[in-house]
Structure formats: C-alpha cells, structure tokens
C-alpha cells in the first residue's frame, strides 16, 4: 500500500513554507540542523504509523540518491 501522494495536502502551503524558513532565522548551521531533527521527531510522533514513516523515509532517501 502507498500512503504518499504527490498531491499537496498542506492546508496553506505558502504560510507553512514561510514558517519553516523563518524558524531558522539567526540560527547557526548546527542549530538549524538540530531544529530540523527536532521537527522530524515531532512530526513523526504525530504521524505515528510506522508504515507511513517507513515510506516517507524511503521516499526522502530515494530523492537524494537518485538525484
């Protein structure tokens, strides 16, 4: 089963993107990376289902490796 659809699901894409970028304002590179890691863990906890997480992780990895 596939959980991920390329279709957008985020309610207000531009608002979200701006929030995401602004969150990194004034942070060093290493703090930025830590923020991202925190964010991933928080969102993963929200998602919960391991099949969905597995698919998200594999899609993310694929997109980097097959660039």
């Amino acid at each position: 089963m596939s959980y991920f659809f390329a279709d957008q699901n985020i309610e207000a894409p531009d608002d979200f993107y701006e929030m995401l970028i602004n969150a990194h304002d004034g942070l060093s590179n290493s703090d930025s990376r830590l923020l991202n890691a925190n964010l991933i863990l928080l969102l993963a906890n929200q998602v919960g289902k391991v099949e969905i997480l597995e698919e998200a992780i594999s899609l993310a990895r694929k997109s980097v490796i097959e660039r």
Partner: protein
C-alpha cells in the same frame, strides 16, 4: 601406557560449565535425565561478567528449586534512572505488576550463579560434573553420534555421546572443530568494565548517564551487586588503548571522579571490552546442539547474553528429554533452531540498537540523538526513543510449527500461542500460591472453571480424555470462587479476577502449555477433543511444516 583408550557411552554430554551449561544440567536433572558435564576449568567464572538475571531466568531456575539461593543472595531491583549530564531524563519501574513470584531482575555475580547451580546439582545422582576435563577433539560417527576426546591432568579418554550440548562459550572449540562459524557485526567502541567494592550501600537501581559531567562525551552505567560491589561500565571511544585503560591507577581516578572525592572503594576486577553481535546460521548440527555464547553473542546492554542462553536451555532440554524418553519424534528437535534462531535475532537486534544509540555512527545520528535528548525534557514520547538498553524478556515463539492456530475468540488478548505463561497470585485453602508453580514439568492443560463447569458431564469427558491423551499431563484449574463441590483435584482460586483477566479467560477457557511453560495453543470456550489431540501432537513435533 596402553594404546587402548577408555571409551564411555552416554546419552547426553554437556561441554562447558558456564551458567548455560550448568543450567542445562539442572534442567535435565529436573526432568530425570542423566548427564555428564565436562568443564576445562576448576574454578568459577573469572571476574563477575554477567550480573543481571531476568525474571524469566529466575522462573526457569525456580522450577527445579535452583532460584532460591540466587534470590537470597542477589540484589533485587526493578527501578532504573536515565540521566543526561546530571539531569534525570526519566526513570522506569520494570515490575508494574505486583502479583508475580519473581522480581523483574536480580543482580548477582556470575561466579555466584555458577556456584549455586553447581551446589544445587551436588548430591543429585543424575549429574556427573567433571572439572579439569577438556574436550580436545570431536568427530561425528556413522551412526550420527558424537565421539568426544577428553583430556584430564591424569589421562585421556573418549566418550561416545548420543547428543552433545555445546555450551563452550564465545570461542567455542566444538564450533570451530566442526568447521562452523558465527556471523554478524563487531563494534569498534571500547568499554571499561569494572567491579569495585564500596563501604556504604548504594540504592538498588540501575543508573545510566549519557554525556555525564564526570565522563564527558561518553556514557556510563552503574549497577549494584551483592557484597557492596558496584559494576561500572564506562564508554571509552573507538581509539582507546585497552592496555592503558586497564591500568588500575587510571581506572581509580576515573571512578573517583564518577563517585566523588569522599567515596572510598577498592577495585576488584577491571576489563576493557569491545563487543560483537553475532550468531551461527543454525544451532542444530545433530548430534550437537549449540547453546548460549557458543551459538550467539550480544553486547551486554540489555542483559541478553546469559539470560538468552538460559532460555535456549529452557527450549531445548524438554525436547531432548521427550525424544530420549520415546514420547516425541526426532523432528521435534528441529524446532530448537526454528524457535531459538529468531530469539537470538531479537536479542541481537535489541542489543545492537542500544549499542548504536550509545555510539552514534555519523553526524546525522549524533544530531538526532541530541534532538531526542532536547525533546525528552518535556515530551514523554521522546523518552521512549532514548535507548540505554532494552532489557531481556522472554521471546515469544509465535511463528513456531509446534503451535496450533490461535482461537479468534481471544481477539489477540492474553498470552498468544508461542508466548511464555504469565504468573499470577492465587489462593489455595488459606494460603497464597503462584500459578507458575502449578504448571509442572510435563505438558499442562490450564483450565478456567466455575461450579457448573466442574459438575458438567462435558468437563468429566474432557478430563478423562486428557488423561488418555497423556497420563503425565497436568490439569490445573483456576476458578473465580471457592468451589463448593467436594472435588478430588485442587482448584486454585482467583479472588481478584486478575488471573482470568491477564489470561483473557472465561469459565471454559483452556490453554495447552508445553513443558517450558510456553503456550502451544488455547480455546476460549472448550476445545473439541480431537482438536486438543491434534494440538498436543503438533506441539510434540508430529506435524512438522504443516
């Protein structure tokens, strides 16, 4: 010197008298089977090594009465604390239930465990423990028996053995001599493991530090053992030199920093380890059965080495005993592989994950760990990701060919086929007793009953059928209320209803339980007698692969 060597013949020979080999001798003796145990050394484990013994290990040992001394001497602990620097991130209580006979864990030096098991066997005619007897060769004969060559300080002799239990530890001579190997991974990280004697007693809990102030950038673990001995594990990094790190003066100053300037202590034992997680492809190479560290090794976080090995014995011994007594076909022995290889994998998986968490392998894993720590301060979900060791628990053989299909009426609740039995406190007359004590050493039917069931014709038929199926089968009955009828058999009383609840039972529920207390199958409301018969045969290995 004559050129004719003495040759003995025995059914079961155990090679290696570590905790696992000795546990095998105890189990065989408990099941009425004679064994010879050959052990190179004339003393017990050098240094403490294993210290944490799990509930399941204690339950297994308790069946033969060998747990009593362990419990008397051991330090009972259920609590653990995990710190980041000097802040406590979380604490845990392993014993959430109060109605279990055995504690979640005891800490007890490995040499005490070995001593207690050996002294338990002393005077029991069924076990012949031969120290200073080293096996220096093995070959498999045409009849599929094993020919062992044994060397002692005075002589050399041979044993022709029907079955050999290879419990000869991580560098297993038997494994190598038979051309077999273990595969897996080796961790580069070094750990200093030391036992120290302190004057003042310490709180009986497990403490784990990530990045402690006294040992920056690494991890530390502290356990309390009997005789005011503390076990301390300090992570040293990949590049540490074992020679330099085991220098007592250096160790002294590291420990002083950890415990504080005003604590007096003496160092008892120092060792620098790097750990592996490896196993053999298969543990059964008839007539040789590999058990314990000879078959698989893990890193010690999670206390899965010795405890896993004792579960091997729990699994293997009743099967060999059943085959030797002619009660089961030889195909039963194959299930040792099919049940214990996945168990070893579970142990390897868990201890590898803990070791990986302690020793992040790249920048990303370091950052995620940092994030886990940050979030765990306020968010309980993140605490679940902190991994300082996932402690040994009994493996569930839920995919085993010995199990019959679960009854869907349980909707997966209670102990599923393959899992270990759950203990409960029950009443018998005016005393408290524990369920596990009643399951016995043979197959067992655990039946949940009430007054009307007990006086029914159906139950009488069931009871008769069980006895014809296997005269040795134990029939254990549990009822919510004291049975009014004058019964011939004992009925255990579950006043609180907790036992019924735990086992997800209603009056009429039946569990078929193997001699190792793992569940073969169950019925929510009485089995058809032919289904019970089929399940019993299946659990004895009669329907391999079906």
């Amino acid at each position: 010197m004559t050129n004719k060597k003495r040759i003995e013949a025995h059914d079961i020979v155990i090679v290696g008298g570590g905790p696992v080999g000795l546990a095998a001798a105890v189990e065989f003796s408990n099941l009425g089977i004679k064994t010879i145990l050959l052990e190179t050394s004339d003393s017990f484990s050098d240094g403490s090594r294993a210290i944490c013994w799990s509930q399941r290990t204690l339950e297994i040992m308790d069946r033969s009465g060998a747990a009593t001394k362990m419990l008397e001497k051991g330090v009972t602990w259920n609590q653990g604390r995990v710190y980041l620097k000097h802040h406590e991130i979380y604490n845990f209580d392993l014993q959430m239930e109060t109605d279990l006979k055995m504690p979640a864990f005891i800490n007890l030096q490995q040499y005490y465990v070995e001593e207690f098991l050996e002294s338990h066997l002393r005077g029991k005619k069924l076990t012949d423990i031969r120290r200073l007897n080293e096996v220096d060769d093995i070959s498999i004969t045409e009849n599929k028996t094993a020919l062992l060559s044994v060397i002692t300080p005075n002589e050399k002799y041979e044993i022709n053995a029907k079955y050999v239990i290879a419990a000869d530890g991580v560098n297993s001579f038997l494994r190598k001599r038979l051309g077999l190997e273990t595969k897996g991974k080796k961790f580069e990280e070094k750990f200093l493991i030391t036992d120290i004697h302190v004057k003042e007693p310490y709180p009986m809990e497990r403490r784990f530090w990530f990045d402690p102030i006294f040992h920056k950038g690494q991890s530390a673990l502290l356990h309390v053992q009997p005789d005011n001995i503390l076990r301390i594990d300090l992570q040293l990094g990949v590049n540490a030199d074992p020679k330099i790190e085991s220098n007592p003066t250096r160790v002294q100053s590291r420990i002083q920093k950890m415990l504080g300037e005003n604590i007096d202590f003496d160092i008892q034992w120092i060792s620098v380890y790097s750990f592996s997680c490896k196993r053999m492809d298969r543990f059964v190479h008839e007539p040789v059965f590999f058990v314990g560290d000879a078959a698989h090794v893990v890193s010690p976080f999670g206390a899965r080495g010795g405890n896993g090995g004792i579960q091997d014995i729990d699994n293997l011994v009743w099967k060999l005993a059943s085959v030797l007594k002619g009660l089961a076909p030889k195909s039963l022995l194959k299930s040792y592989d099919l049940e214990r290889v996945p168990a070893a994998d579970e142990n390897i998986l868990n201890s590898s994950r803990s070791t990986d968490f302690m020793t992040p392998k790249n920048e990303a894993s370091k950052e995620f760990r940092e994030a886990v720590f940050l979030l765990s301060k306020n968010m309980p979900f993140a605490r679940k990701l902190v991994n300082s060791g996932r402690l040994s628990s009994p493996h569930s053989y839920h995919n085993s060919f010995l199990n019959s299909k679960d009854d869907p009426a349980f909707i997966g609740k209670g102990p599923i086929p393959g899992s270990a039995s759950l203990d409960a406190v029950l009443g018998l007359k005016s005393t408290e007793v524990w369920l596990l004590d009643y399951l016995g050493r043979e197959f067992c039917c655990l039946v949940f009953v009430n007054d009307s069931i007990l006086s029914s014709k159906r139950f009488e038929e069931f009871r008769k059928f069980v006895k014809t199926l296997n005269p040795q089968m134990n029939l254990v009955m549990v009822s919510r209320a004291i049975i009014s009828k004058n019964m011939r058999a004992t009925v255990l009383v579950d006043k609180s209803g907790k036992c019924f609840n735990k086992w997800s039972a209603i009056p009429g529920s039946v569990y078929l339980i193997r001699p190792d207390q793992h569940i073969a199958t169950r019925w929510k409301n009485y089995p058809e007698l032919e289904n019970l018969e089929q399940a019993f045969k299946k659990a004895l290995g009669h329907c391999e692969g079906k």
